[in-house]
């Protein structure tokens, strides 16, 4: 069986596969494959099991939690727990707030990062280097150093307990600027020069030449930003204090504080309601997300 699979091999590497073919006759190599693959597969089960349990318990009834063995597949698909979630808290409001905040942050970052990235990559202006170094240095300072002053500034702007508090400070990103700068630097000068000769201004070059080319890095940035904004918890914890302004992560904590919710099927139902959009998002954008993480990893390496 192994040979059949290997025979297909990777067309790009014929020589290498010949060697592998020879090796696979060797039982030791085969054993090594199994001992390597088996723990990896078992490990991946550990990744999935908690999620499976969340789903199965979300359909369960309170008495089932004390039944042994705990059912991996629920005895019946009851939606009672889901009803209770919507009864106890305005779950849709949390969801909507999360959508609003995340969408605004993502769009704002796409605009601000591509603008700044373009300027740092293609334009010359005094102080460019020192400003850019300052930006990079800011990535190394933990946000807790700025926490209290930012809290005061946000209050001063009248954004306390307002969704704006979760949007305005995140409207720009040094990481995103860096990502786009790196990309814009790879665009050949000829494209820009041709446009300049045609009398295009910098704004036009940015809009008509740079932006249309920047699809892939913008998509990567959008997905990374979306993910981190959607999961942001610390900021809402500090700036939001009424339940109608909460986003999902803080709303989950609020729900847990309600009577009879702690560690119950209701909490699991809410967790599943959280997981479904995230997993759909993940499955759709998996390739880009993986690319983004890889890219940011390679940048540093």
């Amino acid at each position: 069986m192994t040979n059949a699979v290997l025979a297909k091999g990777n067309p790009a590497l014929p020589d290498f596969n010949k060697f592998r073919d020879k090796l696979s006759h060797n039982w030791r190599a085969y054993l090594a494959n199994v001992t390597l693959t088996l723990p990896l597969v078992l490990g991946s089960l550990i990744m999935f099991l908690p999620l499976v349990w969340a789903v199965s318990f979300s359909f369960g009834q309170p008495h089932e939690f004390f039944k042994l063995p705990p059912p991996v597949i629920p005895s019946a698909f009851r939606l009672d727990n889901y009803d209770v979630v919507f009864e106890r808290v305005d779950f849709l409001r949390f969801f909507l707030n999360s959508v609003i905040v995340t969408t605004c942050v993502t769009i704002a970052q796409l605009i601000s990062c591509s603008m700044a990235g373009y300027a740092f990559a293609r334009l010359r202006f005094p102080g460019k280097r020192i400003i850019f170094i300052g930006f990079l240095a800011s990535m190394m300072v933990p946000q807790h150093v700025t926490l209290i002053p930012v809290f005061i500034i946000i209050r001063g702007m009248g954004l306390y307990n307002n969704l704006g508090a979760l949007i305005v400070p995140y409207a720009t990103s040094v990481f995103g600027t860096f990502l786009l700068k790196q990309f814009f630097e790879t665009i050949p000068d000829e494209l820009e020069d041709a446009a300049k000769i045609d009398g295009a201004g910098f704004l036009q070059i940015y809009r008509r030449i740079m932006l249309p080319l920047a699809g892939p890095p913008l998509a990567t940035l959008a997905i990374l930003t979306f993910n981190s904004s959607w999961n942001n918890f610390f900021w809402p914890l500090i700036f939001i204090n009424s339940s109608d302004k909460m986003t999902l992560p803080l709303g989950m904590l609020y729900l847990r504080g309600q009577d009879g919710v702690t560690n119950s099927g209701v909490l699991m139902a809410a967790i599943v309601l959280n997981l479904v959009p995230v997993l759909i998002f993940f499955l759709i954008f998996q390739r880009r997300l993986v690319e983004g993480v890889t890219l940011s990893g390679l940048k540093g390496a």
Binding site: L36, P50, L51, S112, P126, H144, F233, G297
Partner: protein, 306 residues
């Protein structure tokens, strides 16, 4: 330097140069404003605040280094600093170590579908919010009625006090962190593995090098840049850990899982000791900075740059 000098030729103002500079400032304006308002000014005033005693409502009072001296005597702060350091070291070691070996394992699998499946499986927890992860594990790891303990007893083990004993609560937090983040590091190492030239392995095969030799002589040395990067960002992230403890144990039992950021949060927004909290942030920053600089210094010795 070249672009800077070109931009500075103000004496003979060429219209294009000036226009370019204006355009440059225009394009970076949003990011620059945000940098000033939400980073530079707050950082400077945050550093300044650590020299004051301030309860948010009355006038701040200058106290010099008193906050820092007080921190050095604050047993709770020392405990949280120890907790944070221990968490950071164990979580970093496990995340990066496991991530590296999972990546090497996945990379050596021949079936493409299995490769893709495993990569997805390990990465999924990364996209789930920490709050949801913590709530979920809080449910699964309950001592008497939790699912995990049920299966452990079925396998003949004793029930584990996952969240109720100090030692285990700490371990649980580390394990949950690994569950959530190991896939991220796996991806970084997978990217590093892709960058290793195939020819090296072919040459090694011709020379008759076995699996372990290839791993030790080719894969691991060429992965050191990824390893270095992972160690640096893992440690920086782990020192700022807050959410999982805040949701799952609230620092308990006792103060066994209380971290610096948790204490900082409580001091600032619970007790309104703003200056004191700011001084904690400064210490945390200095610790992270010192560790990062050390890592970069040491990195020159063991990281293999091509």
């Amino acid at each position: 330097m070249a672009p800077l000098r070109a931009g500075l030729r103000w004496k003979k103002p060429k219209p294009l140069v000036v226009r370019e500079a204006i355009a440059g400032y225009f394009f970076i304006l949003p990011t620059l404003l945000s940098f000033l308002v939400f980073f530079l000014i707050p950082t400077i005033s945050g550093l300044g605040m650590s020299f004051f005693d301030w309860d948010f409502f009355s006038e701040p009072e200058y106290v010099g280094l008193d906050n820092f001296l007080e921190l050095a005597d604050d047993k709770l702060f020392i405990t949280t600093l120890k907790n944070t350091a221990l968490f950071a070291i164990s979580a970093t070691a496990l995340n990066v170590g496991l991530g590296m070996f999972i990546a090497i394992g996945i990379n050596s699998i021949k079936w493409r579908w299995l490769k893709a499946f495993l990569r997805t499986a390990y990465f999924i927890p990364f996209v789930i919010s920490t709050v949801v992860v913590a709530l979920l594990f809080g449910f699964l790891l309950q001592e008497s009625t939790g699912v995990v303990n049920y299966y452990l007893t079925r396998l003949g083990f004793d029930k584990v006090p996952w969240l109720s004993s100090s030692l285990w609560a700490f371990r649980s937090i580390v394990l949950i962190d690994v569950w959530k983040h190991v896939g991220f590091f796996t991806l970084i190492f997978l990217a590093g593995l892709q960058a290793i030239p195939r020819e090296l392995y072919e040459a090694a095969l011709v020379d008759g090098a076995g699996r372990l030799v290839r791993l030790r002589r080719i894969t691991i040395p060429l992965l050191t840049p990824s390893l270095f990067f992972s160690l640096v960002i893992a440690l920086i992230g782990a020192f700022q850990v807050f959410e999982s403890m805040f949701v799952l144990t609230n620092g308990g039992p006792g103060d066994a899982t209380r971290t610096v950021v948790m204490l900082l949060y409580r001091e600032a927004f619970g007790s309104f000791n703003m200056g004191y909290a700011a001084s904690m942030a400064v210490v945390l920053f200095l610790v992270i900075l010192a560790l990062t600089i050390t890592q970069v210094r040491l990195g020159d010795r063991w990281v293999f740059y091509r």
